[in-house]
C-alpha cells in the first residue's frame, strides 16, 4: 500500500478500483446507455416522427437525454462505498478528500459521460440531426458531460446517507444543470446552421474548469456531513 501515501498514488488507486468494480457489474454500466437510447426514441413516438420536425428538435433532445442519463447514473457514485463502509475509510485517509472525489468522478465519467458521447451520433441519426451537427454534438458532450458528472457528484454526496435519494438528487441537481444544457444544445444548433462553435465550446470549457476546481470541494464537504450524520 505504499502507493497510497502519495497524492497521485491515491488518485490512481481509487480510479483503478472504481474501474475494476464497474467492470465486475457490467449491466450497471450499460443501463444508462440503454436509458439514453430509450428516452431519445420516446420523442419521435410521443411527439412526431416527421424528419423535418425532429431534426429541428434533435440538438436539444440529445442533450436532454444525455443529461437525464447522467443523472440516473449519478446516484450510485458513492452509494456502494457508503454501504460497505469503504467511504468512511477513504475519508479517514490523510490525503485530501478532493482527490478521492475527483478520481471517483473521473472513473464515473469515463464509463458514463464518455460512453454517452460515443453513442450520441447514433441518437443523432435516429433523430435526423443533420450531419454537419455531429462534430458539434460530440465536442459539446465531450466538454459538457464531465461538468454534469462533477455537479452531480455534489448531489450524490448530499443524498448518499438517505435511503431514497433517487428523486431528491434530480431535484437538487437539475436546476444546476441548466447552464450546461443551454450552451451544449446551442453549440449543436450552431454547428447545424454552420455558425462558429468556438464561443460555446469555450464557455463549456470555462464551466468545466470552474466545476473541476469547486465541485470536488463541495462534494467532499457534503460527504463528510453525510457520513458523520
Amino acid at each position: 500500500m505504499r502507493q497510497a501515501h502519495s497524492m497521485v498514488g491515491l488518485f490512481m488507486l481509487t480510479f483503478k478500483r472504481d474501474l475494476v468494480l464497474a467492470y465486475r457489474r457490467k449491466s450497471e454500466l450499460v443501463n444508462p446507455l440503454i436509458f439514453f437510447l430509450i428516452v431519445a426514441s420516446l420523442f419521435p413516438i410521443g411527439v412526431s416522427p416527421e424528419p423535418n420536425f425532429l431534426s429541428q428538435l434533435a440538438p436539444g433532445l440529445v442533450w436532454v437525454a444525455a443529461l437525464l442519463a447522467t443523472l440516473l447514473s449519478m446516484e450510485s457514485l458513492f452509494k456502494s462505498d457508503y454501504e460497505d463502509g469503504s467511504l468512511e475509510q477513504l475519508l479517514l485517509s490523510p490525503q485530501p478528500i478532493f482527490l478521492v472525489v475527483l478520481s471517483k468522478v473521473a472513473a464515473h465519467w469515463l464509463l458514463s459521460g464518455l460512453a454517452l458521447t460515443v453513442v450520441a451520433p447514433l441518437l443523432g441519426v435516429m433523430l435526423f440531426l443533420p450531419a454537419e451537427g455531429m462534430p458539434g454534438l460530440m465536442l459539446s458532450l465531450l466538454l459538457g458531460t464531465p461538468t454534469l458528472s462533477l455537479i452531480g457528484a455534489i448531489g450524490a454526496a448530499l443524498t448518499v446517507g438517505l435511503r431514497r435519494g433517487g428523486v431528491l438528487i434530480s431535484l437538487l441537481v437539475l436546476p444546476l444543470y441548466i447552464p450546461v444544457l443551454i450552451f451544449g444544445s446551442s453549440a449543436v444548433q450552431a454547428a447545424v446552421t454552420g455558425l462558429p462553435l468556438d464561443g460555446y465550446l469555450a464557455l463549456l470549457g470555462a464551466m468545466l474548469a470552474l466545476a473541476l476546481a469547486l465541485a470536488p470541494i463541495a462534494a467532499g464537504a457534503a460527504l463528510r456531513i453525510s457520513v458523520s450524520g
Binding site: I154, L158, T159, G161, L162, G165, L168, L171, L172, L174, P175, L176, I178, P179, I182, F183, S186, L203, M207, L210, L214, A218, A221, A222, I225, S226, S228, G229
Partner: protein, 249 residues
C-alpha cells in the same frame, strides 16, 4: 470564541436564548414601521401614482411584482450566508435562520412569478413567456424547492442543516452563471421582443411609491422571518430550562 475582528453581538446572537429575547424586542418596531410603509406604499402606488400612458392601470401590479422579485433574490443570499455562518462557526441559530428563510423565499418567488404572469397577460397577451428574467426566477424557485426538499428528507437536524447549507452555497455560486446563461440563451433564440425589461425613465411619481414598497416588503418579510425563527428556536430548544420556564409562565 472571542474574536478580534468580529463584534460581540455576532456571538451573542449565536445563543438561542439571547437571540429569542433580542428578536422579541424587534417585533413591535418591525410591525409598526413595516405596516405603515406598506399602507403608504399600497395607497400611494395604487391610487395616487399616475397611470402608465401605454399600459394604463395594469402596470400598477409593479408595486407588488418588483419588490417580490427583488426580495426573492435577497432571501436566497440571506439563506446561503446564514448557512455559511452555520457551517463555519457551527452556530445553531444561523442554521435556524437558514431553515426559516427557505419556505418564505420560495413563497416570495412564487408570488413574483404569479404577479408576473398576471401582468404578462394584458401586456404580452400570454400568461407565460420564456423571457430571461422569468426563466431565471423559475430556476431560483427550483433551487429553493431543492433546498426545502433536502432539508425535510434528512431526519437528523444537524446533518440536515449542514447539508442544506452546502447546497445553498453551491446554488449561490450558480445563480450568476444561470442568470447570464439564461439571458444569453434568450437573446440567441428570440431577440428582445419586450422592451418591458428595459427600464424606461420612470417619472419620480411612479418610482417613489415603488421604493417605499420595496423597503416595506423587506421589513414585513423580515418580520415574517423573525416570527418563524422564534418558533424554530422554541421547537429546537424545547428541552432547555428557559423555554420550559417561558411556557409555564
Amino acid at each position: 470564541m472571542a474574536s478580534k475582528w468580529l463584534p460581540r453581538w455576532f456571538f451573542q446572537l449565536a445563543s438561542p436564548r439571547w437571540c429569542y429575547d433580542f428578536t422579541g424586542k424587534l417585533i413591535p418596531w418591525f410591525a409598526v414601521v413595516g405596516g405603515l410603509l406598506l399602507a403608504v406604499g399600497i395607497v400611494w402606488g395604487l391610487l395616487f401614482a399616475p397611470s402608465d400612458y401605454q399600459q394604463g392601470n395594469s402596470f400598477r401590479i409593479i408595486y407588488l411584482h418588483v419588490p417580490a422579485a427583488i426580495l426573492a433574490q435577497s432571501l436566497y443570499m440571506l439563506m446561503a450566508i446564514a448557512g455559511a455562518i452555520g457551517l463555519i462557526w457551527k452556530m445553531k441559530v444561523a442554521d435556524m435562520v437558514a431553515k426559516s428563510v427557505a419556505p418564505i423565499g420560495a413563497a416570495i418567488a412564487i408570488l413574483a412569478l404569479a404577479t408576473g404572469a398576471i401582468w404578462g397577460k394584458p401586456t404580452w397577451g400570454s400568461w407565460w413567456v420564456w423571457d430571461a428574467r422569468l426563466t431565471s426566477m423559475l430556476v431560483l424557485l427550483f433551487l429553493y424547492l431543492g433546498v426545502i426538499a433536502l432539508n425535510s428528507a434528512i431526519e437528523n437536524e444537524k446533518t440536515a442543516a449542514q447539508s442544506t447549507s452546502v447546497l445553498s452555497l453551491v446554488g449561490l455560486v450558480n445563480i450568476p452563471i444561470i442568470k447570464y446563461s439564461v439571458e444569453w440563451w434568450n437573446t440567441l433564440h428570440q431577440p428582445a421582443t419586450f422592451t418591458l425589461t428595459e427600464k424606461p425613465a420612470m417619472p419620480a411619481e411612479m418610482w417613489m411609491p415603488l421604493l417605499v414598497m420595496v423597503i416595506a416588503t423587506y421589513i414585513v418579510f423580515g418580520l415574517a422571518i423573525i416570527l418563524r425563527l422564534r418558533n424554530e428556536i422554541l421547537v429546537r430548544e424545547r428541552r432547555s430550562s428557559w423555554v420550559k420556564a417561558l411556557l409555564t409562565r
